[in-house]
Subunit: 451 residues, 2 copies
């Protein structure tokens, strides 16, 4: 039987980057991927979340293996949220300080680049190898390939970078004392698109993430290098108001878009066609523990799939790779179980925190950002950060533009939220926000932190 | 292909009672059970939770199908908790009013009686039929029998009474938007026994549930008709103090029992032998939703396995059967999906509540009952109940001696808890508890309920 040193399940973004990290440590790395190699023949996206937003944690993990410069040309910086109201008016809320941006990137192209780099480094990616079984007693995986059929492969180490529906996790689920939770939110999503204008330009400002917040639902749009935008419509699956269940024909689609997203609707000539041909997908949160069993480990979405509303799923998975690599650097490759035990212990509180933040940010995106007070709140926090850059770092900044552990950002964010709730309760805040006693707010935070 | 009207997975306590209910509605009922028929040959218990405590909800469900009188002779009433301290001294805390008891019954004998009754009623129980696959698209189950091999069976309705590791639930888990959670507690359990005395009598009072609460761990004992007691030792799996991991040899077992449970130890001549031959089992809580997919439904532990600390797992499962039957009575058997939809909607908040109460009661059993103040608290609540029988019903009584929906009992219990916490904060409560303004406590509860 074939014996691998390292078998990685899944050649997605996380599996590919992880394989590069491990190859650079001198290991023999094999990646098993059920899909065909999409770098051959005509490239086709597969109807799932096409645009990602790269931010600090992701960049840092790419930089450590020398890939930052190669990835940058594939991205478009987005400096803030462009909010569209029902009348087509827009307002811009910056994400951070001047120059700070998150970077729109196509999942497909990015994944191809990472697979190219992995193979260049010497990683073996086995495409069209579906995982049929993971046997954790004998540490054997059974793969199925259309050409060679079923094959058993023995491995010293098995890493599950195989996403929310992980085969490795399914094998762990049958083990005793494996805690597991999968939870779907009531909303689903559908991808649509805004093509370039007739003269080949972006139809809206490309350097922003566009949001049409409508309380119980929303539309967003991210720019692509081909000057189109990928839009994502988030609606409840069922209900009394606007929901997927109630949109049955072209008339319904047009009705919803004309009523709620008219400025976007004017830019979407293929709306109805796309609406009925693209799938409606669901959104899952996964939490589990432990992440390891002997020399196997879950990493990325397989251990902590999150809803996409903080734009951190990929960044968090990349950070997983970097943290795992640091532990391998420190401990070596002769004590995998120790490496994995330290990894899960350190990382679990952080991934719990970002999963929770991602759920909470959905409320902010679909409802709060439409509130004029929300903009005031963001301005106050930005001013606090400008005046006291080390003492008040807005939550979004801690998560997106720093590498502070997510759990610390979460805890600090809760303290800030309490204080800001009091500040915003001031009935004159809209007029007075610029003249607040900012030092006093910082004092309040210091006191809260000391408790 | 064989086509059943009703296929029930599992002939355990819930599956057997459910089959009786459905047979009485004139349906064609087939039960598939992976184990052999344990009524044939010598009976052997299987090392899992042997003693159950039947209470009001269970009795009511048995009574509705005329089985109460047949089950009663198999039971031993337990009127309260007999608490054993480290010095072997005991104190008795009644469960309810005089005459109110929970009833110890052996799982094995009880299950045999229910299977006998099911077969008498015309139910077909297929033993040694392991479920290999549940195909929810075609509504086919694949069973494996040592004699006849693999067989596919088509069903109009599939009911999963197949417990915490349910095959039906595993099939549902792969469906989209199935929310699922499995969580193990840090403690495990091991069954041991106290045999009858030399002159063939019970070694302790048989009409009580015995508890040796030791803070972070405990021992309990329930009486059996053969005058023995079944003991269950609950310990953390690992840790620094007393835990399963740290008990490695006979000396360790004796050390722990002599130190913490000496009075029980004196009654356990086969302790070490049993300790090392009996398995250490884990304790799981399962929550999921929805419970149905088309005409399939999860029932009992398969949808809401709980830890055993409120003695409600079986009672709750029996109540499930009765509630499902009431809906069938009302709606009929031509609209199964409507029956199941109403069942899950009504029942889920209640099973969530009892799962949570079961977790919380572990704290009470292993720690609080040893506190002298706990006894005072129970006495105050008993007196409140005696003075105002309709206005203050202790939580344990609502859960155990009534059929009030668990979710209502839970909510009311939380209000009572808050009020009792204030009452108990009185520094002179030990002396004054009998002279409190009881009417005022009732007023407080009424006010809290009105909010």
């Amino acid at each position: 039987m074939k014996k691998n040193e390292i078998s990685i399940l899944g050649s997605g973004l996380i599996g590919s980057l992880l394989s590069i990290y491990l190859k650079k440590r001198g290991l023999d790395v094999h990646v098993y991927e059920k899909r065909a190699d999409n770098r051959k023949g005509e490239y086709k996206e597969e109807g799932r979340s096409i645009n990602m937003a790269l931010s600090e944690r992701g960049w840092k993990a790419l930089e450590k293996v020398g890939l930052k410069e190669k990835v940058l040309p594939l991205t478009i910086p987005m400096y803030g949220r462009q909010i569209h109201n029902e009348h087509g008016q827009t307002s811009f809320i910056p994400y951070g300080k001047e120059g700070q941006a998150i970077y729109s990137i196509s999942r497909g192209k990015f994944n191809q680049l990472l697979m190219d780099e992995a193979e260049k480094a010497g990683v073996n990616i086995h495409f069209e190898h579906r995982i049929e079984d993971v046997d954790l007693r004998n540490f054997e995986i059974t793969v199925d390939n259309p050409e060679s059929g079923l094959e058993k492969i023995s491995s010293e180490v098995i890493l599950g970078a195989d996403g929310a529906y992980s085969s490795l996790r399914n094998a762990m689920l049958k083990q005793v004392r494996f805690n597991y939770k999968q939870e779907y939110i009531s909303h689903g999503y559908k991808e649509l698109s805004i093509p370039p204008t007739a003269d080949g330009e972006f139809a809206m400002d490309p350097n922003a993430l566009h949001i049409w917040p409508r309380g119980s639902f929303m539309l967003i749009a991210l720019p692509n290098p081909d000057k189109s935008f990928t839009c994502t419509l988030f609606l409840p699956f069922e209900g009394e108001r606007v929901c997927f269940e109630n949109i049955r024909d072209e008339k319904d689609v047009k009705g919803v878009f004309q009523t709620y997203f008219d400025d976007a609707y004017q830019l979407m000539p293929q709306l109805s066609e796309q609406y009925f041909s693209n799938p409606t997908s669901s959104l899952i949160t996964i939490e589990c523990y432990p992440w390891m069993l002997n020399k196997s480990l879950l990493i990325g979405d397989s251990s902590h799939a999150m809803v996409p509303f903080y734009g951190q799923g990929m960044n968090c998975g990349f950070e997983d790779c970097m943290i795992l690599d640091s532990l391998i650097e420190k401990i070596g490759t002769s004590a995998w179980e120790l490496v994995f035990a330290k990894f899960q212990k350190k990382r679990k509180p952080d991934t719990d925190a970002i999963c929770q933040l991602a759920l909470e940010n959905f409320e902010e995106m679909k409802a709060d950002v439409a509130d004029p007070k929300f903009i005031i709140r963001k301005k106050i926090e930005a001013k606090l950060h400008a005046l006291y850059p080390n003492d008040w770092i807005p939550l979004y900044t801690m998560v997106t533009f720093s590498s502070m552990p997510y759990s610390e950002a979460y805890a600090l964010g809760k303290l800030q939220q309490k204080i800001m709730d009091t500040v915003m309760a001031n009935p004159l805040i809209t007029q007075n926000w610029d003249k607040l006693d900012y030092e006093d707010i910082i004092d309040q935070l210091d006191k809260a932190k000391a408790v």
